[in-house]
Symmetry: C2
Subunit: 209 residues, 2 copies
DNA sequence: CCAAGCTCTGAACCGTGATTCACTCCTTGC
DNA sequence: GCAAGGAGTGAATCACGGTTCAGAGCTTGG
């Protein structure tokens, strides 16, 4: 044998792969999935089209990975801010909704691409996973609320899905047209909307920004 | 001149056009937009591909019309059941939510195609119109509620959009997998969810199926 | 029945963008 | 330095489905 990858080569390859993935993410964040042709991604990464195929077996795999990593980052944030730590379920839901909305409004093109842009089936199935992920995060909070007696028993999965849908839909319009002007008011409306949806065992929950 | 369309020919042409549109709708209801190639639609309508182009200038126009007609039918139903007629805003919202959910669950493939399937931009823009339509229908009810004093003043457009998103999202899961088994319970959950979202000026609204 | 002009047909065409592959250039171990 | 193979290249190829169009077959008014 006269050739075997050294650690250095391995590192260079990994770096190239990462650069390609990063280029694809940048491309999506700038012009959505529609703009992310293999040619565009390759050029942006500074490699030839063929080289992209050295790291990803197909475009579907590449964009699925891009979607997944961007999605995971966001989901982690929401999961973190809603973590159980002694706060009420209402406070945790409010924190999650606010984080979700603020971050989406801060990166509107990417957020639109992730939430609503037409994509191929491989990415669409990742999107379903993502939505289930958000639903599960909120459902967990609702469950905790039911257990503690703060919330009355209910179909937490469906209510959580509805919360996710409400946030997504209410943001799609503003994200489409670059209207981040009134984002504070929008965020406040969404947070109080989510809170009002909660089946609290007593009067309306209190929350102030 | 030796040829001019008679009324009969006119009728035959109109019938052919309608048959093609119906075939396209059937195809979408059966296998979604992805399955609706010009070839498939033409075959189903019993004509040649070229003949489809005698009635529709492009596929985009054809599918846009299909989407629009199916969407309008549904929107009309919801608009009708939420019409102002002396009932409370809560009752009207409940009726709208119930109609929306029940009808979606009754035709799951079509509903999924209309609400969530990846589609080309021409149809996507129709979808945005549709969503705005639903939002407006619900917003109108909310406005009435505010005016009558039943609801406290709020951002009715955003809340209405959130309601629409909540209904859509909570249905996408069930629509994907053919789980219309527990549809009654699901509908009930959604209706009470929507009601709990309303910023009523006094205690929780009453509603029973 | 005929000429004029329409409608219908479906195989061929075309544009787009993913994918391949013969080739060149590099890395490795001796 | 050099042989053995890996990595990088990008123009050519391929797949796909929408769109076209030349010819066959109808309809119409006279």
């Amino acid at each position: 044998m006269a050739y075997r990858r050294t650690e250095q080569t391995e590192a260079r390859l990994a770096a190239a792969r990462a650069r390609i993935a990063a280029a694809a993410l940048d491309q999506v964040a700038e012009g959505g999935y529609a703009s992310a042709s293999m040619q565009a991604v390759a050029t942006r990464a500074g490699v030839a089209v063929g080289s992209v195929y050295r790291h990803f077996p197909s475009k579907a795999e590449l964009v699925a990975e891009v979607f997944r990593s961007a999605a995971q980052r966001e989901l982690d944030v929401v999961a973190t801010v809603t973590a159980a730590d002694g706060r009420s379920a209402a406070e945790r839901v409010a924190a999650g909704a606010e984080a979700f909305a603020r971050r989406a409004l801060a990166a509107p093109v990417l957020a639109y691409a992730q939430i609503a842009e037409p994509v191929d089936p491989a990415v669409e199935s990742e999107r379903l996973r993502l939505r289930r992920g958000y639903r599960d995060v909120f459902a967990l909070v609702l469950e905790d609320g039911v257990v503690s007696g703060e919330l009355s028993p209910h179909d937490t999965a469906t209510v959580a899905a509805a919360l996710v849908g409400a946030l997504g839909e209410a943001l799609v319009g503003p994200l489409g047209s670059g209207a981040e002007r009134h984002s504070d008011a929008l965020v406040a409306t969404l947070v109080s909307f989510c809170l009002s949806c909660l089946p609290t065992t007593e009067g309306a929950p209190a929350w102030s920004p």
